[in-house]
């Protein structure tokens, strides 16, 4: 073995957090299933669910706290930084593929299933015998069996709230980039101000989503039960909303850390990772706006 020109390797000491993570996740999912089963029979929430969620919160505080301490303690070298970057990048790719499953379901339902249910292709008898009277138009307002799954009264338009939300998210991608430029020049004031604006935009987006959901449920009859249109609508926008919630939370943590002065012009990967994530939820939203709301 020759001498090194690579610098020292960093290997973390044994850590309890992976085990805490396993216990937290297992407790949460058992709690979640028990809750679902009990609620299906009119019961209440399982105590394991909040315990599991609290454990997950403890995990995040503890594990990320340990990593922040190590990073601030100067223990990380460039190699560790690269590993984190690669890790975050491919994590985001895995998230892209998660959304791809739901977009795939949307496209399959719209392009294939819809037409076949209405008797398209060589499925004339499907429409004729199984679902007589079903009209293959998207969005589906009358489902093949409208007694089991009652369709919505009308579809969610693209203009109005969704268009405003698109503008908000696009704007927030700009503001987070301005904040990053401030950080790179060690200008803390613009960093904090623009980051705070980004968090606020995220919060406004989420509020408007809630308004939209309330409107859908109360005024439009558009629910999770209203057939494949409602299913794809709520799962796609719902998972996107969950990711925006997570992203806003992470931005908020970055804001707190920026106020505490954790970041320097050349050591702020946590901020960059969150910014990447934020751009990712932005891009997913564009897909949603085009294919769920608009076309």
């Amino acid at each position: 073995m020759s001498t090194t020109n690579h610098g020292d390797y960093f290997i973390p000491e044994p850590s309890k957090w992976p085990l805490v993570g396993t216990i937290a996740l297992t407790t949460t999912v058992i709690g979640a299933v028990n809750t679902i089963h009990s609620m299906n029979e009119g019961g209440s929430m399982s105590i394991l669910l909040p315990i599991g969620l609290l454990l997950i919160a403890y995990l995040f505080f503890g594990w990320f706290g340990a990593v922040i301490d190590e990073s601030m303690g100067g223990k990380y070298n460039q190699q560790v930084d690269r590993s984190f970057r690669i890790g975050m990048l491919w994590f985001i790719f895995s998230e892209v593929m998660f959304f791809a499953a739901f977009f795939g379901a949307l496209f399959y339902a719209r392009v294939f299933a819809l037409s076949w249910l209405g008797g398209g292709g060589n499925n004339e008898m499907t429409g004729e015998l199984l679902w007589p009277g079903f009209e293959a138009v998207w969005p589906i307002l009358t489902n093949p069996d409208n007694a089991v799954f009652t369709g919505p009264e009308k579809a969610m338009g693209a203009m109005g709230l969704p268009a405003i939300n698109t503008a908000i998210l696009l704007l927030s991608s700009v503001t987070v980039t301005i904040a990053h430029h401030g950080l790179r020049q060690n200008h803390r004031k613009p960093l904090i101000i623009w980051l705070a604006i980004t968090v606020a935009l995220g919060a406004v987006f989420l509020t408007l989503q809630v308004v939209e959901y309330v409107h859908a449920y109360r005024d439009m009859g558009l629910t999770m039960d209203s057939g494949i249109y409602g299913s794809t609508f709520f799962l796609l926008t719902g998972f996107h909303g969950a990711h925006v919630t997570l992203g806003t939370t992470m931005l908020l943590v970055m804001l707190i850390r920026a106020i505490k002065g954790h970041f320097t012009a050349d050591n702020h990967f946590a901020f960059e990772a969150v910014a990447w994530y934020w751009h990712f939820v932005d891009v997913v939203w564009l897909g949603l706006f085009i294919f769920v709301y608009w076309l």
């Binding site: 992976p18 216990i23 890790g87 499953a101 379901a105």
Partner: protein, 532 residues
């Protein structure tokens, strides 16, 4: 909380002690060992379920178990063998070998590595708990086959299906984190001079496998999430009454499922590509074509999924596309088989246990590949679909393919892991009994399948009796033979074989992992080696 590993070698064996060493580990070897033992235990759990299935099928008629329980056995056998045996064994081997092969001290993200492992006992705990509840008469374990097609799993699935769904979520998180870790390790931790095209083939195959995992495990997570909401929250993804389509489930599932079966074979290709050159005492024939073939197989795996669904119904253009695309896979796979054989050509060969398993792999995996070609011909598949011919096909590629690769790898590397040679006599007994019994077990399934015996049914028509009896005998010999393997591994690990391994272990072995002492030090390379 942490320490920078100094360049001094005296830090090497500061092992943590007690149970904490395993629970809190950040060491790629310890985590690899846990993965391998987890896989081994699950191999016996899933194997005993297979024996229940084979015992019931020993003769026509219903004798041992209820059909309902038989369904639970086929389901859990499949799930456990896929997610609990083959995949964890590969990750365990990657954990042990990838850092050593590329000249790294450990995996890139050691804490996440440990989380990837410990999620598995949680996930399989949930799954097996549902079986225990079923045995105690409280509900049913998942009973819809490992492919959990809707509506069997949505409208008609037992209550435990919801536990199964979250269990799959946890396995998915584990696999995705493991894959990210392997990618970060390979991209970022290679020793100076270890360029991509100098990496051992095992590292290459795992690199590509990791991308497959990141691309498809999230799709599986999406599929089970849609199941969950269909079951509990009123959505209609897989219900035509609401404008959804149960066939859509199959498309989403197999978009995951086909890359998944390559996830379960590519690392074995890598292992065989390490072993054959060592015992032929030649360099691998066609290194770069091996890499490109692996990448081609991975790419093709994304555009062939509907060959699992020829009889489900799809436009003829779709049947044709998926048929021809599937046939294309034979080309890169043929390149690999050709290269292994050419590596042996005029080599100075010896036949230790790893090499025996590797050669058996080449023969028997190729049989599985050929039956795959038969199955990919859409009009012929209408006859084969859902028969024992399919069962024979995928057991040839998964047992005598993937599992043989893993066994070959264990025999090949265990001297490096433990510092002791395994018992060669026992190894040979294990090999011959396994190979013969596997063929007694799986070969007759081709015949009964072609003659029309359906899979996943606890009873069968009388004319299939002899071949089924034969298969059951093979199954029990196969199952109990694995105890020899277990005994040999324990004997080697405890140093009772009496033969110490040298650093190089095998006369013909090349590569960084063989420059380390046997047993390998706790942190593999604390100073990066220079690769020329």
């Amino acid at each position: 909380m942490s320490a920078v590993i100094e360049e001094h070698h005296d830090h090497h064996d500061h092992k943590p002690t007690g149970i904490g060493r395993w629970l809190f580990s950040t060491n790629h070897k310890d985590i690899g060992t846990m993965y391998l033992w987890f896989s081994f235990i699950m191999f016996f759990v899933g194997g005993s379920m297979a024996l229940v299935i084979r015992a019931e099928l020993f003769q026509p008629g219903l004798q041992l178990v209820e059909p309902e329980f038989f369904n639970q056995m086929t389901t859990l056998h499949g799930l456990i063998m896929v997610f609990g045996v083959i995949m964890p064994a590969f990750v365990g081997l990657a954990n042990w070998m990838v850092p050593m092969m590329i000249g790294a001290p450990d995996m890139a993200l050691p804490r996440m590595n440990n989380w990837s492992f410990w999620l598995l006992p949680g996930a399989f705990g949930l799954l097996i708990a549902s079986l225990i509840m079923s045995l105690m008469g409280m509900g049913s374990a998942p009973n819809f086959g490992w492919t959990f097609y809707a509506p069997l799993s949505t409208k008609y699935g037992p209550a435990s299906t919801d536990f199964f769904i979250f269990s799959v979520h946890m396995m998915g998180i584990s696999s995705i984190m493991g894959a990210i870790n392997i990618i970060a390790t390979i991209m970022n931790m290679r020793a100076p001079g270890m360029t991509y095209m100098k990496m051992p083939i095992f590292v290459w195959t795992w690199f590509i496998t990791a991308y497959l995992l990141i691309a498809v495990m999230p799709v599986l997570a999406g599929a089970v999430t849609m199941m969950l909401t269909d079951r509990n929250f009123g959505t209609s993804f897989f219900d035509a009454a609401g404008g959804g389509d149960p066939v859509m489930f199959q498309h989403i599932f197999w978009f995951f499922g086909h890359p998944e079966v390559y996830i379960m074979i590519l690392p074995s290709f890598g292992i065989i590509s390490e072993i054959v050159p060592t015992f032929a005492r030649k360099k691998i024939f066609g290194y770069s074509s091996m890499v490109y073939a692996t990448a081609s197989i991975a790419f093709l795996s994304f555009i062939v999924w509907a060959h699992h669904m020829f009889t489900t119904g799809m436009p003829v253009a779709g049947e044709l596309f998926f048929m021809y695309a599937t046939m294309l896979i034979a080309i890169p796979t043929g390149v690999k088989v050709f290269n292994w054989v050419s590596t042996m050509w005029k080599g100075s060969m010896t036949f230790e246990t790893p090499m025996l398993f590797a050669i058996a792999f080449i023969f028997l995996f190729t049989i599985g590949g050929f039956t795959g070609l038969m199955l990919c011909i859409a009009p012929a598949d209408f006859q084969y679909h859902d028969t024992y011919f399919v069962v024979a096909h995928f057991h040839y590629v998964l047992v005598t393919g993937a599992a043989f690769g893993i066994m070959a790898g264990v025999y090949y590397w265990i001297p490096k892991w433990t510092g002791n040679m395994y018992d060669e006599t026992l190894g040979k007994w294990h090999f011959w009994l396994t190979t013969i019994s596997a063929n007694v077990l799986f070969f007759p399934m081709h015949f009964v399948g072609l003659a029309g015996m359906p899979r996943r049914i606890p009873d069968y028509s009388i004319q299939f009796a002899e071949f089924n009896a034969m298969a059951t005998v093979g199954a029990f010999v196969f199952g109990f033979t694995q105890l020899i393997f277990l005994y040999n591994v324990i004997k080697t690990a405890r140093g009772r074989t009496g033969v110490k391994a040298t650093d190089q272990v095998w006369e013909g072995s090349h590569g960084l992992e063989w420059t380390l002492p046997s047993p390998a030090p706790f942190h593999s390379f604390t100073t990066p080696p220079q690769v020329k």
